[in-house]
């Protein structure tokens, strides 16, 4: 089994759906960090069988909005002195700003410069987001 040192101080993004680790890595722009970052693919998981994990050897501000949208089952462990000092569970964000783009060619976002792409969680329940301008549902 591959061994990655446990963190003394930093953040572990755990329970990432297997195969989505690099997507999260790119979305969070972790390539721009100076610290040590490990992406572990297909780690054993008692809950899901397989999972991806990202370990970051620093305390960084993560965009929990993006993470909650991509996969609300992800958990965030904040590690200090080798121990988990905080465990964050994600929820679907009510609002997404510049995370996804409206694809409706009739929407004002298709022509207006410097406009934020804003989506709101619709009343339909799980993972339905609508553009605040044209109300079209986001299709991933």
């Amino acid at each position: 089994m591959l061994n990655i040192d446990s963190l003394e101080r930093g953040i572990v993004i755990d329970h990432i759906k297997a195969g989505c680790g690099m997507k999260i890595y790119n979305l969070l722009k972790l390539d721009e960090l100076d610290c040590c970052v490990a992406v572990i693919k297909n780690a054993r998981s008692s809950k899901y069988g397989k999972k991806d994990i990202i370990k970051i050897e620093d305390m960084v501000d993560l965009d929990l909005e993006i993470l909650g949208f991509v996969d609300p089952h992800i958990t965030i462990d904040v590690i200090d002195e080798g121990k988990i000092v905080e465990k964050k569970h994600l929820v679907l964000p009510q609002k997404l700003v510049n995370v996804i783009k409206c694809k409706n060619p009739r929407c004002i976002t298709s022509i207006e410069e410097e406009i934020d792409h804003v989506f709101k969680l619709s009343g339909q329940g799980d993972h339905h987001y609508r553009c605040v301008y044209c109300e079209q549902e986001y299709q991933g």
């Binding site: 009739r106 929407c107 004002i108 207006e112 410069e113 009343g123 301008y133 044209c134 079209q136």
Partner: protein, 306 residues
Amino acid sequence: MRHLIDPLDFSEAEIEKLLDVADDIALNPKKYSQVCAGKKLATLFYEPSTRTRLSFEAAMLNLGGSILGFATADSSSAAKGESVADTIRAVSCYADICAMRHPKEGAPLRASRYSRIPVINGGDGGHQHPTQTLTDLMTIRAKKHRLGNMTIGLCGDLKFGRTVHSLIKSLARYEGIQFVLISPEELQVPDYIVDEVLKGKDIPYEEVGNMEEVISSLDILYMTRVQKERFFNEEDYIRLKDSYILTAQKMRRAKKDMAILHPLPRVNEIAIEVDDDPRAAYFDQVQNGVYVRMALIMMLLEVTPC
């Protein structure tokens, strides 16, 4: 400061009050002839319109105010690539209130976020047209003396017909409303209206393809035009444009007190012979549109007659 961007921006009580003022304007126009003296309305029409723009302008002139603006995007700075946000910031320096029509959905909402004056959505793409809805509500209330407990048939282009979307959203707030949605499959009501308004609020509705089968059950028949300008593909437009034509013969099946509404302009979806039918209310809508826009301008400018 308030704007009117979405038909639900006003509560039922506010709409009731606004329609009462509109009714009073119809009865006593002189009382309101100077309430907006010294005020200016900017009409920012990025898309051609006869009725809505003239209706807004007539409304402001009837209130003693003045008007300025443009009637096509070509004659505005939009042709030079100016953003909606920048245009409204400039217009806020020239006028006290503005009405905007734009082919892009959400443009008036964008404008309202940068504006220092009230913004009225005069129609945004295939999305919403809240002042047409106020006109429709005024006409329905005048004909039926109520806004609830009725069956409304909406016929034609229910996909891109912004007046349809706004009317469904508004009427869904009243008790006892049922909708019959009559359209070809390609022009059915968008998902967000079905999911969030009809299913979301448990409003009874049915989607049908044949007008004749359902016309006898309707209290209101709201006809719409298949709009060429909403299609990216002309072949689709040609195939669908003559889907429904209301004739005197079809009207024989309708209730004696059913009212026919249409946001106009009409092409051929209502035969000319139907105009003489006392149930035809679409030209009443045009007149009501001026009264209701007068009431709206007064409400947003917070002015009242002396």
